[in-house]
């Protein structure tokens, strides 16, 4: 089975976010990048587990500049077999999905796995867009994945709770919590990652339909109002009359 795992970088979760150039640019000074947790903990690890139990190959793909390669090496250290970098800034979800789909279309992957969203934009757009380009079914917000020949059984989150579904390969999924557990790369993996293939491909032409005009920081919170444990009637009153939420 051939797995393609889409990997995005994301600022470390403890990063202080700030902007430059009149709030039009994300300030990267001092920012440590990690693999987007949903891509790493769930999509990548589950693909590796399935490869280990049923055979196959795991390729990771990133749309990004050369500066993203350390993050890609980490995915290789965790166990991916090879990496592909599309040499372009990931400025728009539509563009990223188009690039990944153009690559995937040539390589006949059985399963394309994405994290359900990035922790920088929480957009949840790329999986559905890749599926649209490839005309593959999409299992969105999948929490479990098992394969048996070309049939995959998945669980997914929906408005009514968890649903079990069956689908034939090839398909696309977006991975949510539950699918696998985080893996810490060991020394052997880190050494091996240095020599694993990392192919760089130039982007194909594709339209870009969105553009970030500016960023904004949330306005500061008003001071917290403190109440004593014995003032719960007052709290309820405040929630009703002052905050107007109940």
């Amino acid at each position: 089975m051939k797995f393609l795992v889409c990997i995005s970088k994301a600022p470390d979760t403890t990063s202080k976010i700030d902007f430059t150039d009149n709030a039009t640019k994300f300030n990267e000074a001092g920012i440590q990048y990690i693999i987007n947790p949903y891509d790493e903990w769930y999509a990548l690890v589950r693909a590796l587990e399935l490869k280990e139990s049923s055979g196959g190959e795991v390729t990771i793909i990133t749309v990004g500049p050369q500066a993203d390669e350390p993050v890609m090496r980490k995915a290789l250290a965790i166990g991916a077999d090879k990496a592909v970098r599309i040499n372009a800034e990931a400025t728009d979800s539509g563009f990223v999905a188009n690039q990944i789909a153009d690559y995937a279309a040539k390589e006949n992957f059985d399963i394309v796995l994405c994290g359900k969203e990035t922790i920088n934009y929480n957009s949840s757009q790329v999986p559905a867009m890749i599926a649209a380009h490839l005309d593959y079914p999409l299992i969105s917000l999948a929490t479990k994945l098992d394969i048996n020949g070309s049939t995959a059984t998945l669980q997914r989150d929906g408005a009514g709770g968890e649903e079990t579904v069956e689908v034939q390969t090839p398909f696309v999924l977006s991975a949510a919590k539950g699918m696998a557990e985080q893996r810490i790369p060991n020394m052997k993996g880190i050494m091996a990652a240095r020599t694993k293939p990392l192919e760089v491909i130039e982007p194909t032409g594709s339209d870009v339909h969105t553009q970030v005009v500016s960023y904004e920081m949330p306005s500061g919170k008003a001071e917290c109002k403190y109440l004593e444990p014995d003032q719960m009637d007052q709290l309820v009153e405040l929630l009703h009359t002052e905050a107007k939420v109940i």
Binding site: S93, A132, A159, E166, K177, Q211, L235, E237, L239
Partner: protein, 317 residues
Amino acid sequence: MKALVFADSKDGSIVKSSFEAISYASKFASEVTVVTYAGVSDDQLSALGAYGAQKVIKASSLSDNDSQALTSLVCSVAQSEGSEAVVFSQDFTGKAVAGRVAVKLNAGLVSGAIDYPDTSSGFTVKKMAFSGKAFAHVKITSPIKVVSVLPNALGAENKGGSASVTEFSGQIEGSKVKITQSAQASSGGAAPLPEAELVVSAGRGLKGPENWGIVEDLANALGATTACSRPVADIGWRPHHEHVGQTGVAIRPNLYIAAGISGAIQHLAGVNGSKVIVVINTDPEAPFFKAADYGIVGDAFDVLPKLTEAVKKFKAS
């Protein structure tokens, strides 16, 4: 501008986030058409007029929410109606379908909108970025715009009125995904977490899963949905779907009550869009108090039951 809104339903009723999406479209579009699938009575569909729809098109032959089938339905209606904007709710179905529709219509998509589009120069939509630590204003430059609206961000305005209801007559692509076991009914009938207006959440300060009764009692008294911090879900005290934060569900309720949660940056990232935050913690230095509107320095085992009693008294009065 002509807008098309996809409305989802559950157990025979249009979901609340779809009312919000229709209301959203009616703020910037002169004509609003709604497209939906099987399962909802014509009376209910006609009543969508109250939120700003003129016309509702339903596909009675389509009963499941597969992304390929729904995409073909939405795109077909968008084309026949000449829609210039397509609006979804950023809920479970919206996440699976909006991106697909955007690709097929060769359109730009902004997902998770938290404000109405600014049309003073083009079409610019505000959304959360960096897990709620900032906002981004994103301009859609394609002729057709696709927007998905964050549930519970803007509310739905009922202005009265009714819409015409017609049957969809085109072709719908078949689904390649077979549902072998449908969703288990969610517990207690509380709203699913991403849509909930009131949320009661607890963390490691509760000491063990056997102590969650006092959290559930408060949630029941309020009609709220329960949530938890990440370690609580990781050690299996609570189900994974209750985990909120940067790597869990990001929520934006009207009221978020957090008991025994320290307020780590990753937790705050998923909840700081809440309109009002109440924090209960034994430690006056807990970082969560900096993000709180109301704080109680105290033991959750003492405060939660007292708050539950106060809520019950208020509801009875």
